[in-house]
Point group: C2
Chain length 446, copies 2
């Protein structure tokens, strides 16, 4: 059996039941689907597009394996002719998308699929699954980055991320959005994301004496010695490690930082800073972790806590205050005719759309216009073709480049949108041609 | 490169930095770690243990691949001798655990690892990652099951689950906790979980006429015809499908249900029920989906909404109101000596522990006692050995058996704990021998 993340059957049953009908009825014209977020989560002023690379990997690799076909043939729901028709199925369509790291808003498509109906339909579930997770995490991580200012910021969230893929991809998404690195080794191996990590409380506990644990660690990792000091008594450990730090310095080993992971982090940091400074260990930095999110980080720094870096995990990786997006992948056109859904509260803008963004002379964002592809509007169009006939048109940009692009995107946000509290919404106009098309589509349906 | 879910490097850097020290210092005695939840999430009265099978798979398969070893050797953080020592590393320890589907509470270990220090430490991150996700989802799903009473309950959450593994494992966890099935095809292929699914709005939209879409679907799926009626106008669609339903009946095709996915689900269900009944289609059931969780399901049924089944997705799979558990995998003993961490707000009970559960004559739960392994206490011990020397001691129970076990567990909960609002906490006593050990451990540390 294929790994979970690669199986084409990681999808909803209805995709296949619909494909059976399309096969029976020979419905095989070109379909256009777009992925967008209906509404920003409460309390959020913007989102950061992320996940495109994995979507393109998925589309390039799309196929049914023999055991998947055998299972489909035997499950009693599908005709043999239909299952046979899936044997050679590949994704042959085009994709337009916003680059990863692009800031975007409600109703703006960040990805469009233009493909034969059954291909465009089959990929729905996994596209949503991949784009939602990574956009969610990148958007949350960007807020943490704003709150943390220029401090070191490390993703510590693997253990409480929702499973393997979420752990890996949220390390990447948070790095793109401005984190400095991750504790996740696989993210380091996959993408060269800088790795950070020290020791667990268990490490201190297996030693009978805390200071011996510190010393052992320093000797094994002379170039990367950060000591966890809160296992028993934070301030006592800070005091006790001073003579050790001096002794290690004489051996040429610098203790780089201490980590505090419990209690009132701001208060402990102040006391520990005072102890270290009084002991001549001004160069030892303070790293804090434990239940942090953008609000906690901002509160600590606003209060002047002498913290040089933060490990932010669970609440960032799971986007704990809003662990999902109100997002959708919706049919906008079939067989050359624009379509829209009108379900209550879920109506969509029909047709193939483009987003134009206007900026001022300094690059600061002024407003977006949502319109039809090909309509001429002021500003820069944000969606570009990234795949043709099932193949990427260019190799993937290096992660450092995406991260730098995201940085400039986030820097261009109006200052009030960068704050953690809710600001007046960013201006997204719907252009006249798109409104007119929606009207025509509704009229046609009567 | 191995799939994400299989890589031993899907772990935190600090596990490997600690292992380097243990290697250098020859710290290789037996370590005992336990996984537990420190505190129930706000608003929850119980948790349901889930995820053990995947943990055992992970432990049985644990090894470093050659490319992982090469990467470790080249990353500049570890000694060659240490990396070489990982070549043949396997998990050789024992595991005691609560069965999947067991109801449990704060501070009660649901899994214990007893293994040479480096093995027991290395597996921390992934064990937490696997147990948290599945326990979280199973616990949320159990609440939805209580709210839904005996109605059909289907997992619809794959698309907004956090990535591939979360989508797959939450289908399994919700099934164990009482859901009737899932839309997730891979869950059907892997475990035979019953699959449910019909059509998307896009299916209606690619047809110019809604009724034609319904008819096409019925002809392709004569044995499983559920029609989505809210794409344009819910009640109009219900009215319009009546003649079609009668025509199909004449062909021997029964429309089984209609699905409503937007608007006021209760109000639409009432109107649609009236329309169907007035049209002689009393046998057609009503299935509802869209933004549902246990509270919404309960409110609908309390208000008498004529809904026969629910698709519950995003909010269950992501455990949206509490998307993480305050859980930990902590060292409780090393080299035969009990240990505990005393960090503020995070102190743990030391030693190898057992949970005894007392029930009344009808099987209803009366209270638990947390004590040391081997201590004699009234009630049934909940942790049992499931792995010895790195191998399962029995093959995995069939999923249906786990589901039935979970059902009896949930049925044994005191009625007030089964309600959605917060009840007085279930009684978990800490036995005297465990309190005494904690005292001794603290005294020893001074």
């Amino acid at each position: 059996m294929r790994p979970t993340e690669e199986s084409v059957l990681l999808t909803d049953l209805y995709q296949l039941t619909m494909l059976q009908v399309y096969f029976d009825q020979e419905l095989e014209e070109t379909a256009v689907f777009e992925f967008f977020v209906r509404k920003l989560p409460a309390g959020r002023n913007f989102l950061v597009a992320c996940g495109l690379e994995r979507v393109l990997d998925f589309l390039e690799d799309l196929h049914f394996s023999q055991d998947e076909l055998d299972w489909l043939a035997g499950c009693g729901r599908f005709s043999t002719r239909f299952v046979n028709s899936l044997t050679g199925l590949r994704f042959t369509g085009d994709v337009q998308a916003m680059a990863e790291g692009t800031v975007f808003f409600a109703d703006e498509p960040i990805l469009r699929v233009v493909a034969p109906l059954r291909e465009a339909q089959l990929v729905e579930t996994r596209i949503i699954n991949l784009l939602q997770l990574q956009t969610l995490t990148a958007s949350k991580a960007a807020r943490v980055r704003f709150a943390a200012r220029d401090k070191l910021l490390v993703d510590f969230g693997l253990r409480r991320a929702h499973g393997a893929e979420a752990g890996l991809l949220s390390a990447r998404a948070s790095f793109v959005a401005g984190f400095d690195g991750s504790s996740n080794m696989l993210a380091g191996m996959h993408w060269g994301i800088p790795l950070f990590g020290t020791m667990a409380h268990s490490f201190i506990q297996v030693h009978d004496v805390e200071l011996v644990a510190f010393e052992h660690f320093a000797h094994s990792h002379p170039g990367a010695t950060t000591l966890l000091i809160d296992t028993y008594d934070t301030e006592a450990a800070a005091q006790a490690l001073l003579p050790l730090a001096h002794r290690l310095a004489a051996e040429g080993i610098a203790v780089q930082a201490v980590r505090i992971d419990s209690g009132d982090l701001g208060e402990h940091a102040r006391r520990v800073r005072a102890i270290l400074d009084a002991g001549g260990a001004n160069a030892i930095k303070i790293f804090a972790s434990g239940n942090l999110d953008e609000f906690a980080v901002q509160a600590l720094l606003d209060a002047g806590a002498p913290i040089d870096g933060f490990g932010v995990g669970t609440r960032m990786n799971t986007s704990a205050d809003h662990p999902y997006l109100d997002c959708a992948y919706k049919l906008q056109e079939y067989a050359g005719v624009a379509r829209r859904k009108r379900s209550e509260g879920k109506a969509t803008w029909p047709g193939r759309k483009q987003v134009h963004r206007r900026v001022d002379g300094a690059g600061c964002m002024l407003g977006d216009t949502l319109t039809l592809e090909g309509d001429s509007q002021p500003g820069t169009p944000l969606l570009a073709t990234v795949m043709r006939a099932g193949r990427r048109i260019a190799s993937s940009p290096p992660l450092a480049e995406l991260r730098e692009y995201a940085r400039t995107q986030l820097a261009a946000l109006q200052p009030e949108l960068r704050r953690l509290d809710v600001a007046a919404p960013y201006s997204v106009d719907v252009a006249a041609p798109l409104r007119e098309l929606a009207r025509q589509v509704d009229q046609h349906r009567g």
